[in-house]
Amino acid sequence: MSDLPLIQADRAVPPPAATTTTRGRGRRLRLLSGTDRVVITLMVLVPLLLVVGLVWLPAGATVLLSGTNWDGIGPLGEIDWVGLKNYDDVVNIYPPFVPAVQNNLLWLAALFVVATPFGMFLAVLLDKEIRGSRFYQTALYLPVVLSLALIGFVWQLIYSRDQGLLNALLGTQTDWYGDPNVNIWAVLLAAGWRHVGYIMLLYLAGLKGVDPSLREAAAVDGSSEASTFFRVVFPVMRPINIIVLVVTVIESLRAFDLVWVINKGRNGLELISALVTQNVVGEASRIGFGSALATIMLVVSLVFITLYLFTVMREDRR
């Protein structure tokens, strides 16, 4: 599912021969033969049709459908436009909406305020070329290769009311996944467990790209390790920081698998993504209404995707 950029994460080192290649490339295009032109067109067109057809068109259609009262059954011609009524209903007469927004924000806050700084902190420690670094890195990264659905199951062994480790150790009878007062926190711990390793990897790559002479200069000036990090290293990693920010926002917005395997996003675990799904594949197929929820997700994510694209593309041209 939803893992985001890993490999291209760091742009701190500029590409060697970027300027000459750009100039060279521009000249060649006119010299191409007919077959070559056809080949180039196909090479772009086939993947483009797939991505436009299966990603961008549906995204646009979602926005359009959010203005209708379509029930998903009748022909498209019978659709009635209802304007912003669906949005009005979502906000005002749909009880799970407010808890879902709160949970999504809580998810973001937990990943951003706790998991992300912790992952960064671990990356800084592991960047020091200490012995056993490989082992520590592997241990921390391991949860990232597991699916979030699976993580829901693995943590069930700890959280289960009757057979879980946590209750056995604490002598409590809490249903960690079932009790609507605590289950979001239990789930966030599991989600954070995975997120920390991911962030650590992104920052490890980022730290390797920081020019060592910067740190040496700071050390010569008598700067402490902490202040070197916050005043020199951290600002230099600006592109990585923005990528991590976007990754975190998008992960919190897209969060789905974990709550869906637990209880389909009900009873304390409401998330916008789960509400959309419930409205489409669940008992009640309310297309227009579900589309309004989906459009909200789409708009929020597009803001951050744009920020991301600007960051990576600017680094690209440098």
Binding site: M1, L4, P5, I7, Q8, A9, D10, R11, V13, P15, A18, G24, R25, G26, R28, T35, D36, I40, V44, P47, L48, L50, V51, L54, V55, P58, A61, T62, L122, L125, E129, R131, G132, A139, L140, L142, V145, L146, S147, A149, L150, F153, V154, L157, L165, K208, G209, R254, W260, V261, I272, V280, V281, A294, L298, S301, L302, T306, V312, M313
Partner: protein
């Protein structure tokens, strides 16, 4: 590219003077990291441990105990949950999807990296952003579309794109293409342009420049991407959950949810099932960890 990487690596290599006696700060650091690492591994180890014990034993002695070792949970889980079939379903979806993603993405990346025309940036943005959209935001039209598109019976017994492997493969490819285009185009941009000049002098067509000049040079990036994509598509849960109806056709990650009902009261079985599902990704991770690391260092030197 390689010379830059080499010099940087040499710069950061620890100087011999680092062999100093263990300072207290180092001890604290190691204790802290070891504690975190053990804490991080614990949930996985706990699952393995639980899966190896009999339900009867843990029911009477509690889970915080030792004993009741058995492999029966694995046999039961394998049989009741029909893991063999579900693993095979995952293979049917993952292998074609990864190959197709890498092929299509490398085509686009090649054109973006090799030729400059005014849509380059827009194209790159279009692909990259597609990978970042929330899947649920596309669900409604896609769901409807898949139930409208017919397939011949030999391709799908539902005779629709909905509830067929083809549909899942396509949607995974469409979604993952963006990420691979982005990584590969960056990688290809760093290849020396002289290569193409030489190829042009030899009269190589665009296709040959792609297939015989560029692709072999991209092997490290392709290997790293293949590793990541196999993991991600194998782990994919959402699309299979909503675009599949027949339980028998679910890939293993999404079939987990069905197992939950069957294993409801038996955590030892749940853990055995979880371990079974995790094994392929763990094997890939441990065998190909270098690919992950190489992927990262490739990114760090941009290219």
């Amino acid at each position: 590219m390689s010379s830059a990487t080499l010099t940087r690596a040499a710069d950061t290599a620890p100087p011999p003077a680092r062999r100093r006696p263990l300072r207290p700060a180092r001890v604290v650091l190691h204790v802290f990291l070891a504690a975190v690492a053990v804490g991080w591994l614990f949930p996985i180890l706990w699952a393995v441990l639980t899966s190896l014990r009999s339900y009867e034993y843990t029911a009477t002695h509690g889970y915080v105990s030792l004993g009741g070792w058995t492999l029966d949970n694995y046999l039961t889980a394998w049989r009741t949950a029909e893991f063999g079939k579900h693993f095979l379903n995952s293979v049917y979806i993952t292998v074609p999807a990864v190959l197709l993603t890498l092929f299509l993405a490398s085509c686009v990346a090649f054109v973006i990296a090799r030729f400059s025309w005014k849509f380059n940036i827009a194209l790159l943005g279009l692909f990259t952003a597609a990978n970042l959209l929330p899947q649920q935001a596309l669900l409604i039209p896609l769901f409807r579309m898949f139930t409208e598109i017919p397939l011949p019976a030999w391709m799908s017994d539902s005779e629709l794109l909905y509830d067929s492997y083809w549909g899942l493969i396509l949607v995974n490819v469409a979604f993952q293409c963006g990420f691979c285009v982005f990584v590969l185009s960056n990688y290809m941009k760093a290849l020396p342009h002289e290569l193409y000049e030489a190829a042009m002098v030899d009269g190589a067509s665009v296709w040959r420049q792609y297939w015989q000049v560029t692709m072999p040079l991209c092997r490290p990036a392709l290997a790293a991407l293949a590793t990541l994509e196999v993991t991600w598509i194998y782990n994919e849960f959402f699309w299979a959950t909503v675009l599949m109806r027949t339980g028998d056709k679910f890939p293993v990650t999404s079939s987990l949810n069905n197992l939950r009902g069957e294993f409801f009261t038996d955590n030892n079985l749940v853990s055995a099932g979880s371990v079974l599902v995790a094994i392929p990704t763990l094997v890939i991770f441990f065998l190909l960890q270098k690919q992950f690391v190489r992927g990262l260092t490739l990114g760090a030197s941009k290219g």
